[in-house]
């Protein structure tokens, strides 16, 4: 007996129509899972990478969004030199380089095989054209302008040899050249860099399906080791749960960055998934507003630092994942040393210092954080530990754009927590206008002296000294270094443990 009979439904046209439609919907739907699975409609060798921040365009020169170099750097556009997973500078378009004794002139010897996707060579003239183009572009992002500010000129020395002159020596400059500012664009390209690419990398941009994905295709004319995938799709998820679900259901090959470490347990099946756990460039900084009277007092800053048990914070808010750093450097930086023992956890001493500073009767501070999981969770923990030493903390959560305008730009805060994900970003402490309003002449001298030191080893030692100064001066509280949590299918190999660059570097990734 049919369902309709049982309900004594008249077998009218309406019922039949409904039955047909239901059948069609289900048939379509289930048919879709065998024939419609994205994997089977794509050509062979497709890599699908899940990510959370979608780029608004493909133009890294006029848009600061980190999501752009994540896709393009090293994959589509190449740089003279690149940074490897251990933070070391390696050859890319330049196979070798020399630095003059005064460290003002860099001579790069370009790889003779290097060519753009169009077939045009990446020669000295192309490098000079790129530097000149950026220097002449009034709309270039402030970040790139600042990085180019010390470049006084670039000159062709030979067909494959280029010389770049600086106005002062800088240890940082060559590192900067491994990021977006070093990306070489085909000088012959006349299209719109927002929606097309013309690089020399193993992949080329194919399509940006707004709200969904960015697709790269193999550059078959690549001059180096050929691309291992015909197509790479970066799929974007506003909701991290959706990204995890796509990985669990087999729709993705890689989750490029797990948004919350409590999701790790979902991928514990080692027969299906591999978990990569390394370090990133993301220092989670509890920033002080140094223009506020209480926070301009060293004793108060030291007391606040001593009041927070950072090991316990990592265990409580980030599932024990993350590295203690104690200053504004991460383990892949050449000048890193673990300074988390400076102003170490000691609530009794914290109370004493607060009393000495004149805040024995209590202190009230506003902790304004952007709504980002690590910031919100850390804020609760910090508020609770500061309460134990007599500091009342009022936590306010703001959406990121509001945080950017009120806290970052206008400096309307006492304390805040945010991850600083740019590589080698501790020189920000030398800028008194930066949102911390940290104006330490001593630190500025230490850093600038280190940056212009002609000897590499001495320069690194100088950087270490300036970082130690920051920690001693309790310029901020460095809660932890965000872990690089990457999930891959077991068939995927070649991903480095550490995310030392802003690129999601596809060049080493392969599929078994």
């Amino acid at each position: 007996m049919s369902f309709a009979d049982r309900l004594r439904l008249p077998k009218s046209g309406l019922v039949k129509a409904i039955a047909v439609m239901l059948g069609l919907t289900l048939g379509f739907g289930l048919g879709g899972c065998t024939t419609g699975n994205p994997a089977s409609t794509n050509p062979t060798r497709t890599l699908k990478v899940g990510a959370t921040l979608e780029p608004a365009s493909m133009d890294a020169w006029h848009n600061t969004a980190a999501a752009i170099p994540q896709v393009l750097l090293y994959n589509v556009y190449e740089t003279l030199v690149k940074v490897d997973a251990d933070g070391q500078i390696r050859p890319l378009l330049a196979q070798a380089w020399e630095v003059s004794p005064d460290r003002l002139t860099y001579s790069f010897h370009l790889n003779p095989a290097a060519k753009f996707a169009s077939g045009a060579p990446v020669d000295a003239a192309a490098v000079v054209a790129n530097i000149n183009r950026m220097k002449a572009d009034p709309k270039l992002t402030e970040t790139l302008k600042a990085q180019l500010a010390i470049v006084t000129g670039a000159a062709v020395v030979g067909e494959r040899e280029v010389e770049i002159k600086l106005s002062r020596p800088s240890l940082m400059w060559l590192y900067d050249m491994t990021t977006s500012v070093g990306m070489m664009l085909d000088p012959a390209f006349t299209g719109d860099v927002a929606s097309a690419t013309a690089g020399s990398g193993p992949y080329a941009f194919k399509a940006h399906d707004k709200g969904q994905s960015v697709t790269l295709v193999a550059n078959n004319a690549y001059w180096g080791t050929p691309a291992r995938f015909d197509e790479v799709v970066f799929r974007y998820y506003a909701d991290p749960n959706a990204e995890n679900a796509a990985m669990l259901s087999g729709d993705l090959d890689i989750v490029s960055s797990l948004q919350a470490p409590d999701a790790l347990s979902q991928f514990s099946d080692t027969t299906r998934f591999t978990t990569i756990n390394g370090t990133t460039n993301g220092e989670v900084v509890l920033g002080f507003n140094h223009s506020k009277k209480a926070l301009s007092n060293l004793k108060v800053r030291q007391a606040l630092t001593m009041a927070i048990n950072r090991r316990e914070l990592i265990d409580t808010v980030w599932n024990g994942q993350g590295t203690l750093i104690g200053s504004m450097a991460v383990p892949t930086d050449p000048w890193f040393e673990d300074l988390s023992g400076t102003n170490a956890y000691n609530p009794t001493q914290a109370k004493k210092l607060l009393k000495e500073a004149g805040y024995g009767d209590g202190l009230t501070l506003r902790l304004r954080v952007p709504v980002i999981p690590y910031a919100v969770k850390s804020a609760q923990f910090v508020a609770s530990q500061l309460r134990d030493v007599g500091v009342t903390v009022k936590v306010e959560e703001l959406d990121f754009t509001r945080w950017l305008s009120e806290v970052f730009t206008n400096g309307d805060y006492d304390l805040t927590i945010v991850g600083h994900t740019e590589p080698r970003d501790f020189p920000k402490f030398a800028n008194p206008k930066y949102y911390w309003r940290y104006d330490s002449k001593k630190f500025q001298q230490l850093y600038q002296a280190a940056d212009v030191t002609p000897d590499d080893a001495k320069a690194v030692a100088g950087m270490k000294a300036s970082l130690r100064y920051l920690a001693d001066d309790a310029a901020a509280i460095w809660l932890f270094d965000l872990p690089n949590l990457v999930i891959t299918k077991n068939t995927i190999t070649g991903l480095p443990a550490n995310a030392s660059s802003i690129s999601f570097d596809l060049t080493s990734i392969a599929s078994r």
């Binding site: 419609g36 796509a246 754009t401 305008s405 970052f408």
Partner: protein, 319 residues
């Protein structure tokens, strides 16, 4: 004559509502703290550069000028340009609209498919276990938040059974089978949640029909309860059902925004969420205006549909 007057009146209300909505939308988006110039320039930008970009984008002009500029554009079909990507707002809206339209359309249809038979059973068998079961399930269904329902559906059908893709979207023109496969879970979730709400209305409307004279007459000439309900009941129930459906459209749209996020569908909802987060105000205004237009148009259609369903409304006579 009376009909023409009614239509004219309805169109008048429609236009005034749209104007009011546009003012409200503009005022609220302008009041949002934070701005797109800062988002565009990033964290290294100087305040001077931000101010300069604001001037370039025209964000420093008086509100009235900005409003008139925006509304004037809309009247000629120009919704402006996204500050963030440089794309025309309309070119961003249209592909997203298609996704939301499929989702909302199928979900409304699906909720009717579920709610009408279930509501009938709940009414006819209201004193036996079947009726109680339907009513109880509807109560449970209403208590389930739509995002939770979505996550549950993903876990069961995509992660455990691997029958359907967990999320994402493929346009119909690209691959119809894949398009349908990607829509099944979001549509089912949204339909089920909406059906849970509808079932109660359908049930009470049919319970009323059961007490009507025409129903008793139909039964007395030997019609089965289902036949009597289908032939005479459905049309009488339709008026209140259409009213409820019209009201439901806005809640389905809200549900769609949530569902789009759970299933990573590139619809209007996800466009709106991203644009709000990045203060891409013209995109926010354009999208909300579009949604308001859709809701108002549907409620106007609901009004007109009474005329089709109920002959008494056409003639102005009471039966």
């Amino acid at each position: 004559m009376q009909l023409g007057l009614r239509i004219a009146k309805r169109l008048g209300v429609f236009s005034v509502s749209l104007l009011g909505a546009s003012l409200l939308i503009f005022a609220i988006t302008q009041a949002l703290p934070g701005d797109v110039a800062q988002v565009l320039l990033g964290t290294d930008a100087t305040p001077e550069a931000v101010a300069q970009l604001r001037a370039q984008l025209g964000l420093d002009r008086p509100w009235l000028v900005q409003y008139l500029d925006w509304i004037g554009g809309i009247l000629t079909g120009d919704f402006g340009v996204s500050h963030l990507s440089g794309d025309a707002v309309v070119s961003l809206l249209l592909p997203r609209l298609a996704v939301t339209m499929w989702l909302v359309g199928f979900a409304m249809f699906g909720s009717l498919l579920l709610a009408v038979p279930a509501g009938m059973i709940a009414a006819l068998k209201r004193r036996s276990w079947q009726g109680i079961l339907v009513s109880a399930s509807a109560q449970v269904g209403m208590a389930i938040p739509v995002f939770w329902g979505g996550i549950l559906a993903v876990v069961i059908f995509a992660v455990w059974l691997r029958w359907l893709p967990a999320n994402g979207y493929v346009p119909l023109t690209q691959n119809p089978a894949s398009w349908a496969a990607h829509l099944v879970l979001p549509v089912l979730t949204l339909s089920a949640v909406q059906a849970a709400v509808l079932i109660r209305y359908v049930r009470s409307a049919f319970v009323e029909v059961l007490n009507e004279d025409y129903y008793r007459t139909a039964r007395s000439i030997g019609w089965t309860p289902m036949r009597a309900l289908f032939r005479h009941g459905l049309r009488n129930v339709a008026i209140s059902l259409v009213t409820v459906l019209g009201l439901q459209v806005s809640s389905v749209l809200v549900g769609a925004i949530v569902i789009e996020s759970v299933f990573s569908l590139p619809g209007l909802g996800s466009l709106l969420m991203t644009a709000v987060a990045q203060r891409d105000l013209l995109v926010v205004q354009g999208t909300v205006m579009f949604l308001v237009l859709a809701v108002l148009a549907i409620s106007a259609l609901v009004d007109f549909s009474y005329l089709l369903i109920d002959p008494r409304q056409r003639t102005g006579r009471e039966a």
